[in-house]
């Protein structure tokens, strides 16, 4: 990608993450997941798509069609909702640095 994209790519990869939602005690019942954007790392504030919460809405997806509603409080979803956020190495995070610090790693052809 052209030089112009450097800053945008860094911003995108720094902010990118994946969010998964599952039911407490029933992780095997499958989980719903989507992508997200890390708005702030401390505290970790993340914006993601709301579609993965539909199965957990106490009032069902009908709650999303209330014409004037622009937001629903977090407790609109049942207490069995479990959320996890995962992101890649960041320039700042120690894990990323440790990886970067190990010279000589290579993938020899067999």
């Amino acid at each position: 990608m052209g030089r112009q994209w450097g800053p945008a790519m860094r911003a995108a990869e720094q902010a990118g993450c994946v969010v998964s939602a599952s039911r407490a005690g029933q992780p095997e019942a499958g989980s719903w997941s989507c992508s997200g954007v890390i708005l702030n790392r401390r505290p970790g504030l993340v914006l993601c798509h709301g579609g993965i919460f539909t199965p957990f809405l106490r009032a069902g997806s009908g709650a999303l069609t209330a014409a004037s509603a622009s937001f629903l409080p977090g407790d609109s979803c049942g207490d069995d909702l479990r959320l996890h956020v995962q992101w890649g190495p960041t320039a700042a995070s120690p894990a990323g640095r440790a990886e970067r610090g190990r010279p000589g790693l290579c993938t020899p052809q067999c």
Partner: protein, 457 residues
């Protein structure tokens, strides 16, 4: 050969942070997004559009699809639970582009994880590039191709500096069972405004979080409209053409002259309504002064306007074509009269020549019904390369390929346009009805006849 001893093999792909528990603070949506969505995709249009992550043929329960549609414009604000003794660096502050600051045609970078948490080692933060194709308030469309699982992913611009523009609302759009090749986005700025207001109003201990949400960029983003990047000037040359119940696109080639397709304005002397959208909306009547015969491979019609279209930049006709160059199509496909023209980007994938003369251009831009007659531009020079005539349908499977389309090179039309503009003589256009057999064969997508086999007698 044995592998060198090294650290335990990681699951393929990049080292990831372990998943972190989080809590749901808010579900939020932008009422203006939902209003525009209903206007553009609701009503009688509704039955044509599908946003399901599955293809139209896949079995998705009606209830599930209803849920997906209801949730399409909704997003969620989460707080990641801090780990004990963790020293998470603050990291760079994310910049957010104000609504309306990114012009149509501006390049965009989408970053999401196809299939979500299914295989983040491989798919986390996959990039896709495109342009801002169209916008209606906070409802944005890009031709950056996204896949299921990228919903919620960020879409960034690079000019004047990296900033978050939108989040992916629906990665796949199907219209009348055709894959549209566009991704539906919701602008980030209005979503964050809703989040700030909600956090302040909900709970004292969440009110403080409102101040930690990323701010909208100030200048140069906040410049008055007249100083902001107006986007590519050539977008304004595309017009909507209505002839009776048929509508399509067209391009202004002189202040009082519009070129479109014959199948949009088929009959000479027919009255035609031409709508321009930029720099200002204008509606002007005109009539068809020339349309090629049905037998002509060049699907062209020329409309003379009853008054000049002021302020529309007249595109410069290209003289040469370079396969692989970046191009853009501007047309009223997909939304037609409901909002301005859409811009889609791609490359000039083929220049088909007969006797060393370009007679057909192919591109990888997304072209949909309603874009016929619209202009094909060079994204580098802004020159007019051709007139979009058609995309591709596989008659065996019924599948339509929006990303394979055919345009008439402007070099085929330019001599006739010049002659008509100078003398009013239609002779040059009449030549288009007498295209040679090899040209007809090309436009019938047939193999050129092999050299006629000579009898041995």
């Amino acid at each position: 050969a044995g592998l060198e001893p090294g650290p335990p093999a990681r699951p393929h792909g990049r080292p990831l942070q372990p998943p972190r528990p989080a809590e749901l603070l808010l579900l939020l949506s932008c009422p203006a997004f939902r209003g525009h969505f209903s206007y553009l995709f609701g009503g009688e249009e509704a039955e044509q559009w599908r946003f399901a992550n599955a293809t139209p043929d896949d079995e998705v329960s009606e209830e599930e699809e209803e849920d997906q549609l209801r949730a399409l414009g909704w997003f969620a604000l989460l707080r990641v639970r801090p780990e004990p003794k963790e020293v998470e660096e603050r990291g760079p502050v994310l910049a957010v582009a104000p609504l309306g600051d990114v012009p149509k045609g501006a390049p965009l970078l989408a970053c999401g994880s196809p299939f979500g948490a299914f295989c983040p080692d491989i798919f986390l933060n996959t990039l896709s590039r495109g342009v801002l194709s169209n916008s209606a308030g906070p409802l944005l469309l890009t031709d950056a191709r996204c896949l299921p699982g990228t919903e919620g992913g960020g879409v960034f611009t690079s000019r004047p500096s990296a900033a978050l523009v939108a989040l992916v609302a629906a990665p796949l759009c199907w219209k009348a069972r055709e894959w549209v090749g566009l991704t539906l986005l919701c602008a980030a700025a209005p979503l964050l405004s809703v989040a700030r207001a909600a956090l302040r109003g909900l709970h004292p201990d969440t009110a403080a979080l409102a101040t930690l949400l990323p701010p909208e960029m100030g200048a140069p983003w906040g410049l008055p409209l007249r100083y902001r990047d107006p986007g590519p000037p050539w977008v304004a040359a595309a017009v909507l053409v209505e002839c009776g119940s048929v509508w399509g696109s067209g391009v202004v080639v002189a202040p009082g002259l519009v070129v479109t397709c014959r199948h949009v304005a088929p009959r000479e002397t027919a009255r035609v309504l031409v709508r321009s959208t930029t720099p200002k909306s204008a509606v002007i009547w005109g009539h068809v002064v020339f349309a090629t015969q049905e037998t002509s491979p060049y699907d062209i019609a020329v409309v003379s306007l009853e008054e000049d279209l002021d302020g529309v930049p007249i595109p410069v006709p290209a003289e040469h074509f370079h396969e692989g160059e970046a191009v853009s199509v501007v047309g009223f496909g997909v939304f037609g009269q409901a909002c301005g023209p859409s811009v889609t980007s791609g490359i000039l994938s083929a220049v088909v020549q007969v006797d060393d003369t370009p007679v057909m251009l192919q591109t990888t831009c997304a072209v949909h019904g309603g874009s016929s007659g619209g202009p094909l531009f060079s994204a580098c020079s802004g020159d007019l390369l051709g007139i979009v005539a058609s995309n591709t349908r596989d008659n065996n499977t019924g599948a339509t390929y929006p990303h394979l389309n055919f345009s008439i090179p402007i070099t085929v039309l330019q001599p006739a346009l010049q002659q008509y503009s100078q003398t009013g003589d239609l002779g040059g256009f009449r030549q288009l009805d007498h295209a040679s057999v090899p040209v007809r064969v090309v436009w019938r997508l047939q193999r050129p006849p092999a050299e006629a086999l000579r009898s041995k007698l």
